[in-house]
């Protein structure tokens, strides 16, 4: 079975730091969310993941964005890119970059959950016939909403590479999404700068599916981390309460 081949050094240029583990999660209320899944060229299959993760075949990139009305860090907008992968037998997304619209949100997402978040513009605009997402190096659109059931969109857990009290680790963020309104749209990537989003090898060229939702997102406190160079079967560590 194939595993990632990226050198950890190349993945750690702009990673997050979690100073200490927290028992506290974060509830994000009134979230307008967006998710686009696109296949990538096979050159980006193993080369964008650390050795502890397995790529999917075909390789795929998910672009997610949120407009958050209420959170521990106030209202904010957020966009992130993740490479689809497997940690052990679990479906995950490995974060390559993240942008938050406010410094407070960026600090919270970075310090609590390890998202490699920078502060920048994120504009997620819903309108009658679809949605637009804009950030630096990213322009995406989705048209013609079709209603779906609230459970018809799959959000996989996230792995953020971060410096943590346990050392350099893949931090597992297992967000839960409770959708009130979910729609599928016809997504198009109008502009994507791979270097801006974490890795020049990222090559989303074939959009598979795009969805938008109104939902509540719960980010529970981190419970597990993995060593980035070791498969999850042996490299997973539980975050003990005493450590928090």
């Amino acid at each position: 079975m194939i595993t990632g081949t990226a050198h950890v050094e190349t993945l750690t240029q702009e990673i997050a730091t979690i100073e200490q583990w927290s028992n506290l999660g974060a509830e994000l209320l009134g979230v307008e969310s967006f998710q686009l899944i696109a296949e990538m060229r096979s050159t980006a299959r193993e080369a964008v993941l650390p050795a502890g993760l397995h790529p999917t075949s075909p390789p795929a990139l998910s672009i997610q964005a949120w407009n958050v009305a209420e959170s521990p860090w106030g209202p904010f907008s957020f966009a992130t890119t993740r490479v689809s992968c497997r940690s052990g037998v679990r479906a995950r997304g490995f974060t390559t970059a993240a942008v938050a619209s406010t410094a407070t949100a960026a600090e919270g997402l970075t310090g609590c959950f390890g998202f490699p978040t920078t502060v920048g513009p994120v504009k997620l605009r819903r309108h009658y016939d679809g949605v637009d997402l804009e950030s630096e190096g990213l322009v995406v659109t989705g048209l013609d909403p079709t209603p779906l059931g609230s459970s018809d969109v799959q959000y996989t857990g996230t792995l953020n590479l971060a410096n943590t009290p346990n050392g350099l680790r893949l931090v597992q963020v297992e967000a839960t999404h409770s959708g009130d309104r979910v729609e599928r749209v016809q997504g198009r990537i109008l502009d994507f700068d791979p270097a801006q989003w974490g890795n020049s090898l990222l090559s989303p060229y074939h959009v598979v599916s795009t969805s938008i939702a109104v939902e509540t997102i719960n980010l529970p406190a981190v419970r597990f981390v993995c060593r980035p160079g070791e498969l999850a079967f042996s490299g997973t560590e539980k975050i003990e309460i005493e450590q928090r």
């Binding site: 079975m1 194939i2 999917t56 689809s84 497997r86 037998v89 969109v153 598979v208």
Partner: protein, 387 residues
């Protein structure tokens, strides 16, 4: 209780022309040996683009070789993906009928709709439509097999009147099955009078519930064909050795290797927002057997619940449990990624046939022709298996 062997044709990396050939060769030899030993079915899946996990993209070719190299084992073409971008229904009916003729009336036809985006996306199929096209396929294939003047105006295809040829050797036609992974699919099978071909080893408790629901529903089914197949088969792994510790040491890594490869597939639900695929994961997810309950024969030996790995006495107890929850057949995966040397695989098969199968049927029965579909009262008389 029927016993089958089940092939994904998994190929380990590094890929080479030689290893592809080796997997096909070892699998065909396993079929020949199983045929001689009294196993009932040899199934081969249809998968596309699934590196390592399954290189079985032309099962009808593999199964034609199985049919030619064996004399009694039934040939399981399953499951054929009932998605028009992959298979036109006429081609499915034609190929299956030809295989039935080649095998002398030993064909079983499984049907499915594919679970991975890797496959559906590769063929440009719309995940929203696969359940509908599967339903259309299973209704038209028996008509193509039995009607001299077939025509159709449907959703996924339409055609003017033609005689779809050849007709199968079995009269009226081969038994049909549906692969069942997600809860509820067994009811789709039952409503249509189709056999329940489990490809996920669920717990005894879950199987008991599914089997009961299946039998309740199939008792009042509206069959899509001219025969009702009311069999409930499950999938499992097999490694049998006199010493259960050896069986465990060899068999568990094989099962785990398969499960991990399965979990690494790129599932449709993960890629495509749709109500048509509600489960993330397929076989491997459900084959991550839980630790056995205390009253399970596997518990004392540290083996997962219901897994076909162990010494003969242990396997007899395990299979009796499956039998007690209504399972009428078990199809075994014998190897994964060529992890177990071929001679050990064959020894496991021989020991199982010698020590385990006789606990479920008389040895003289074991080598007789295998299965005839249940006939529908008032429907066309079943002509038997043609063997």
């Amino acid at each position: 209780m029927k016993f089958g062997i089940f092939f994904e044709l998994s190929v380990p990396r590094p890929f080479s022309r030689a290893i592809e050939r080796q997997v096909y060769d070892t699998s065909l030899e396993q079929c020949r040996v199983a045929d001689q030993l009294g196993f009932d079915h040899a199934w081969a899946v249809e998968h596309h683009f699934l590196e390592e996990y399954s290189h079985c993209s032309a099962p009808e070719v593999f199964l034609a070789a199985v049919a030619a190299q064996t004399s009694r084992i039934r040939v399981g073409h399953g499951a054929v993906v009932c998605v028009p971008e992959m298979n036109h229904p006429v081609r499915v009916a034609e190929r299956a009928a030809a295989l039935d003729i080649i095998s002398g009336g030993r064909l079983e036809l499984g049907t499915a709709r594919s679970s991975t985006w890797t496959e559906l996306g590769g063929f440009g199929a719309d995940p929203d439509d696969t359940k509908k096209t599967w339903d259309e396929f299973v209704r038209v294939i028996p008509k193509m097999w039995t009607e001299d003047a077939f025509s159709w105006e449907g959703k996924s295809f339409s055609m003017p009147e033609r005689n779809v040829l050849p007709k199968p050797y079995q009269d009226p036609h081969p038994p049909m099955w549906v692969t069942v992974t997600s809860p509820g699919t067994e009811l789709d099978a039952a409503e249509r009078g189709l056999g329940c071909l489990g490809v996920a080893a669920v717990s005894y408790e879950e199987q008991d519930r599914r089997t009961a629901d299946y039998h309740r529903r199939i008792a009042n089914c509206e069959p899509v064909g001219s025969v009702v197949n009311d069999q409930v088969h499950t999938m499992n792994f097999l490694y049998c050795h006199e010493d259960y510790k050896v069986a465990k040491k060899v068999g568990l890594p094989m099962a785990n290797t398969f499960n991990v490869a399965n979990a690494h597939l790129y599932w449709t639900r993960e890629a495509y927002a749709t109500s048509a695929y509600q489960a993330l994961g397929n076989v491997g997810r459900s084959l991550q057997q839980a630790a056995a309950p205390a009253d399970d024969p596997s518990a004392a030996k540290g083996l997962p619940e219901g897994l076909g790995v162990g010494d003969p006495d242990h396997l007899i107890r395990v299979i009796k449990r499956w039998e007690s929850v209504g399972v009428t057949g078990i199809n075994f995966i014998l190897n994964a990624m060529e992890l177990i040397p071929q001679e050990q695989v064959l020894e496991s098969l021989r020991l199982f046939a010698r020590e385990v199968i006789p606990a479920f049927r008389d040895s003289s029965v074991a080598l007789q022709p295998v299965y005839a579909p249940t006939s529908i009262p008032g429907a066309t008389t079943v002509g038997g298996t043609g063997r």
